[in-house]
Subunit: 327 residues, 2 copies
């Protein structure tokens, strides 16, 4: 029996994936059969990367693969959950070389292995441009998921790591440290676990601080004040934005940092800081939740209404065209 | 705060979805929080539909939405499982009208409601062509999933319903009954439940009888003989293919019928037939599993090696071009 291109390709693509914990039946049947851990809730999220919108051909295939899974792990990090199983829907131009697609598979496998994830299913189909939609399943102890909805006026706002690096890292000639933030994001999984049960709400920063803060505020029914002078910036970020008219643009509104934004009651701040220290993740207070509505920026001694809130994948694609990179 | 296009669109698209059983947190957080039923295994599958490969703009948006979920439900039907929760990754040209996308959402919601599925998460992104990747989660009593791997030489092969209708239904001017098979497939969920614990193996027919039988044989470590004279054909199929050089081409190799192919030990055939009758699904014996290797077709008194095994989404896209419809 001939084995046509589709199945050859699936075989090459899925070769690096090894079955793991709780996988009764992995790739190769109509569906995966999984055994979630007892006493846990199941978490599920999906995120897609599209060529020309979320990555360009200047990414290596390993970077595309890594990122397609990492952005989903970041979502589970923001829930305080442990990622377990991934399903990968790959759409590819029929002209793509199987070896190149296999390298995407290896990028996914490398991110999966690093974070304890098994790839348990997938789908390969033809399309005019490359895209990868990854569904990630995970678990958290029953009732312990860290939600967007728990924020209260008076809670402090904290972000992990530094902001705006990934947005600068997409530019031609960006320094290696910023390029890595864009191409090989490392989700804050340990921080999410450490913060569960302490933080009042959490979200991961995929669309930019102001926009994602807007989602958290909307879900929690609060407003927020952000202190522009407190934003954690890397040395490379400062060097790249020095002398610019708005040096904070990417830190406030650049997407894809995949840091965590947490809110915490002031009485629990010390506990949260200690928990973050234990997992080695820097945390910075950047503001406070206030009664609704709206987000205000404390900047140069004034409370301002922010102009642009964040990154819009649809809008940027419309402006820049399909292969035009990102805002 | 402005709500940019991406979020407006997500809101329009997700409006028809209502939360259901076991959904602690649905759409609107970083991940859905789900509570799988106790004593059950979790099932997970993903399938993507791409414009110009799996559907054309001649489909109504409701049909596109329905089909994107139905093909996944068919996978769980083949596992004897109950579908519970879906995640939808929509990629769309930024020029698509929100109202048109909302109608796709209603098509998904209508298929979801009919089959007891809740849409619990999703993602919307820009792309140059429309595609929908649906991940479906479901449950089956622990250890009771119906696999592809359990077939034994001597087991009889049965298919539900009729074959080849969907492949004929893509053609311009096809009769309404065949068009409906292509555009609004109805997964054989009740048959899957009825067959679990009786059938030895199962697969759904998405790529054509011979190709999917090939997968079942490979997984079970068997070969198969198929009796071409026994294939169940609809009256519309017979009318459309009358006088053609190879009237069985679509019945053997046409994709997307979303019928089930089952194998069963001869001693259990009567039980399987009774179970299928109880759920009102026609079943036809079309062949038998034999020792490996290979699939042979009994036709006009001779055992033949089939020439073309089935539908290859990548190959057909390569031949026909992006908007060229399907083989």
């Amino acid at each position: 029996m001939t084995r046509p291109g589709e199945f050859e390709l699936i075989e090459r693509f899925t070769r690096p994936f090894t079955p793991g914990e709780g996988v009764e039946v992995g790739i190769g049947d109509d569906a995966a059969v999984l055994r979630p851990p007892a006493g846990h809730d199941l978490l599920a999220t999906v995120d897609a990367l599209v060529e020309g919108v979320h990555f360009t051909r200047s990414f290596t295939p390993e970077e595309i693969g890594w990122k397609s899974l990492a952005v989903n792990i970041s979502d589970l990090a923001a829930m305080g959950a442990r990622p377990l199983w991934a399903l990968v829907a790959l759409a590819t131009p029929p002209s793509a070389r199987p070896g190149w697609l296999a390298r995407i598979g290896r990028g996914i496998a490398s991110c999966a292995e690093r974070h304890g994830v098994s790839v348990v299913g997938g789908n390969v189909t033809a399309a005019s441009e490359l895209s990868i939609a990854v569904t990630l399943l995970g678990a958290v102890r029953r009732g312990r998921a860290l939600l967007r909805t728990g924020g209260q006026p008076g809670d402090l706002l904290l972000v992990s790591g530094t902001l705006g690096d990934a947005a600068l890292g997409i530019r031609p000639g960006a320094p290696a440290s910023l390029r890595a933030r864009q191409r090989r994001p490392v989700p804050r999984l340990e921080l999410g676990w450490a913060a569960a049960g302490i933080a009042s709400a959490a979200i991961d920063l995929s669309d930019g601080l102001l926009q994602d803060l807007g989602h958290l505020c909307e879900a929690s029914g609060t407003g927020a004040h952000v202190d522009a002078g407190c934003l954690p910036l890397s040395a490379a970020y400062r060097a790249q934005t020095q002398g610019r008219r708005d040096p904070l643009a990417e830190a406030l509104s650049g997407g894809e940092d995949y840091e965590l934004l947490l809110s915490v009651a002031p009485s629990r701040l010390a506990r949260l800081r200690a928990a973050a220290r234990r997992v080695g993740t820097p945390l910075t207070v950047v503001g406070v939740l206030v009664p609704p509505p709206g987000i205000r920026l404390l900047r140069d001694g004034r409370l301002l209404r922010p102009r642009r809130t964040g990154h819009d994948h649809l809008r940027s694609a419309r402006i820049l065209g399909r292969r035009g990179g990102r805002a």
